[in-house]
């Protein structure tokens, strides 16, 4: 058969993402994060302590900004499992960053309902405004741009998530302004999330 496109197997699916990132530093939880982890672990039965891996990784990310090789070993010790089990989890979930990210992680939802209302154009405008391609971080470490899959806010399309907050109904022509506002005012520039209303202005 003549049809045989080349496949980049390195990018094939999420389980083959490049892992892990060694930043050359030894990670340890700050005492309050360590205490918080033990509080969280109490929600699960003793045999289910591994359930606290996801929350434990969020605590690492809160403290460090990403998940390093050393932090995975530290989490494994805190949970009482192997480092491989932690790495297995980190490599699967898209919300765990495996490298240092910009101060503002700008994630444009690219799935159908957002795309129908201009998400592809939003990404293009942000690429121009920020001077970086998706998956890149700018040289000052201020912005990381990403295209992500459905964020579950299709009525507020196109949706952009900046760090953990939402910016709703971002029109392509307003993308540059959002970038400028983020630089000037930080996350206060975001519209945040408000419940749907039948009077919502059309976007």
């Amino acid at each position: 058969m003549s049809f045989h496109p080349k496949i980049d197997y390195r990018e094939f699916h999420r389980s083959t993402r490049k892992m892990p990132y060694d930043d050359g530093k030894v990670f340890a939880y700050e005492p309050d994060n360590r205490a918080r982890l033990e509080d969280i672990a109490k929600r699960y039965p003793p045999e289910g302590r591994k359930s606290a891996i996801l929350p434990a990784l969020y605590l690492v990310q809160r403290q460090l900004g990403y998940i390093s090789l050393s932090s995975m070993q530290h989490v494994a010790e805190a949970i009482g499992c192997t480092a491989a089990e932690v790495e297995d989890v980190v490599s699967f979930y898209t919300m765990f960053y495996t490298r240092p990210m910009g101060k503002f992680v700008v994630q444009v939802c690219r799935t159908l309902p957002c795309a129908l209302r201009g998400a592809e154009r939003v990404t293009e405008e942000l690429t121009t405004a920020l001077g970086i391609q998706p998956n890149d971080t700018d040289s000052t470490g201020t912005f990381t741009l990403m295209e992500v899959e459905c964020l579950g806010a299709c009525d507020r399309a196109p949706l952009v998530m900046v760090n953990d907050s939402w910016h709703e109904c971002l029109q392509p022509e307003d993308a540059k302004k959002l970038a400028d506002d983020l630089r000037a005012r930080g996350e206060d520039a975001l519209t945040g999330c408000h419940h749907q209303s039948p009077d919502r202005a059309k976007g």
């Binding site: 996801l54 929350p55 969020y58 699967f92 979930y93 898209t94 459905c150 919502r200 976007g203």
Partner: protein, 433 residues
């Protein structure tokens, strides 16, 4: 129909415990705790409440299947991992009516004999999670959750667990894996969660909207509930309308309503008065309906009869500027990215489908690619552990079936024949993930 789940969502402070208590809050739970667990299950069965997560499985049956005679603890797990493209109803319920969900969780726990409920919420809903946590804390403090609930001598805990960005975690056994601290990959069934679920213990996994329906059934009865909609499709339903409509949003209605009424009356019709091209009625995983197929009941049975599925009631409206090859490519990129990698047909097949679709959309397709597309999609559907495989095959199959001419035009003219101003203007970076 007067809204039941979303009646107060536009009022300030509607998410607080005080507000909830002023509007019959936790009265359904009080009724339930005065009943035998089995009677609660029978009542919910009689109401005909179908699961609102996508499969439409009767909730009462799910609870009945949970093994009662066991030394193990039992669990209620609430699926709040709302991730199906086009679906955003649970977000609204949790953000504006969190106590309704807590009450539903507690009633479900009483029904199956569980002492713990976990709410697994998707990681991107952190602002919603904050509302839930704050309100849960208040409910604990005032004795509606925790030890000796409402002074009635019954204990029950609710915990919130944050996911981390995986569509597959919405599949119930993958959700349980994720909740156990592993990759969100589905389990081989049987055994079903009702026999061996969370930590190997009997478990019922219910969607947010499903559990939010339960308190009103306890309060007003199964007959009242069933009479709200057509036969076997009772109760209120939340519809998520997105895409090319004037007023995207969550709308509550009886399932007596038709798809046409939802799109043209409730959501204001197609944006800018453009012609309607097609509708995806139940989230991105279901077959497309054409404009002449909309005069049907927007119920589980009504949409199924028309050859699609109500699924999660995520209605995505497409106007005449939408290229159907582009649409399939967009969705296949989603499925390729979200395939958990466990089953070979899905892991490999989604990449192949995407490759072929990209090739056609770029204008480099050949006529034989259309047959290949059908062939590969057919090799995924029905050949995987969970329904993801069927879902991933659907966009290619349904667009080919309904818009074959558009595919052929792409091949013949060597370009996308339906370019839209809202799409990207520069060449897309291939494999941008």
């Amino acid at each position: 129909m007067e809204p039941i789940l979303t009646k107060f969502v536009r009022e300030p402070h509607c998410y607080t415990l005080d507000f909830y208590l002023k509007h019959e809050g936790y009265q359904g739970l009080r009724t339930a705790l005065g009943m035998k667990p089995n009677d609660v299950i029978e009542l919910v069965k009689a109401s005909g409440l179908k699961g609102r997560g996508g499969a439409g499985f009767p909730a009462g049956m799910k609870w009945q299947f949970v093994v009662k005679d066991t030394p193990k603890p039992k669990y209620i797990v609430c699926n709040a991992d709302e991730s199906e493209p086009g679906t955003f109803k649970d977000h609204l319920l949790m953000e504006r009516n969190p106590h309704l969900l807590f009450e539903g969780c507690l009633i479900a726990c009483h029904a199956i004999g569980a002492k713990v409920a976990y709410i697994y919420i998707r990681g991107e809903f952190l602002h919603v999670q904050h509302v839930l946590e704050q309100q849960l804390e208040d409910a604990y403090k005032k004795g509606y959750v925790g030890k000796n609930v409402m002074g009635l001598g019954w204990d029950c805990d609710i915990f919130i667990h944050r996911g981390a960005g995986a569509y597959e975690a919405g599949e119930e056994t993958a959700l349980l894996e994720s909740l156990e601290g592993k990759r969100a990959q589905p389990r081989l069934k049987p055994p079903f969660p009702a026999i061996a679920g969370l930590y190997g213990a009997p478990t019922a996994v219910n969607n947010v909207e499903t559990l939010s329906n339960v308190p009103s059934i306890l309060l007003r009865g199964a007959e009242w509930y069933a009479a709200l909609g057509p036969e076997k499709n009772g109760g209120p339903k939340l519809y998520c309308i997105s895409g090319h409509v004037e007023r995207p949003g969550v709308y509550e209605a009886s399932m007596n309503i038709t798809l046409r009424e939802l799109i043209f009356n409730v959501a204001g019709g197609v944006r800018d008065g453009r012609p309607l091209k097609a509708v995806i009625p139940g989230g991105s995983s279901v077959p497309i309906l054409l404009p002449d197929q909309l005069d049907i009941q927007a119920s589980f049975d009504g949409v199924a009869k028309a050859g699609s599925l109500l699924g999660s009631a995520g209605i995505i409206v497409l106007d005449d500027t939408t290229c159907m090859v582009w649409l399939a490519e967009n969705l296949l990129r989603f499925y390729r990215h979200e395939s958990c990698g466990k089953c070979t047909p899905c892991r490999e097949g989604t990449q192949w489908l995407l490759n072929i679709l990209e090739k056609i959309e770029r204008g480099e397709g050949e006529m034989k690619d259309l047959a290949l597309l059908e062939n590969v999609a057919g090799l995924i559907a029905g050949k995987t552990l969970c329904a993801f495989g069927d879902a991933a095959a659907t966009p290619a199959l349904t667009t080919l079936k309904n818009f074959r001419g558009e595919y052929e035009a792409h091949v013949r003219e060597g370009r996308c024949t339906v370019p839209a101003p809202w799409r990207r203007r520069t060449a897309a970076a291939a494999h941008s993930h």
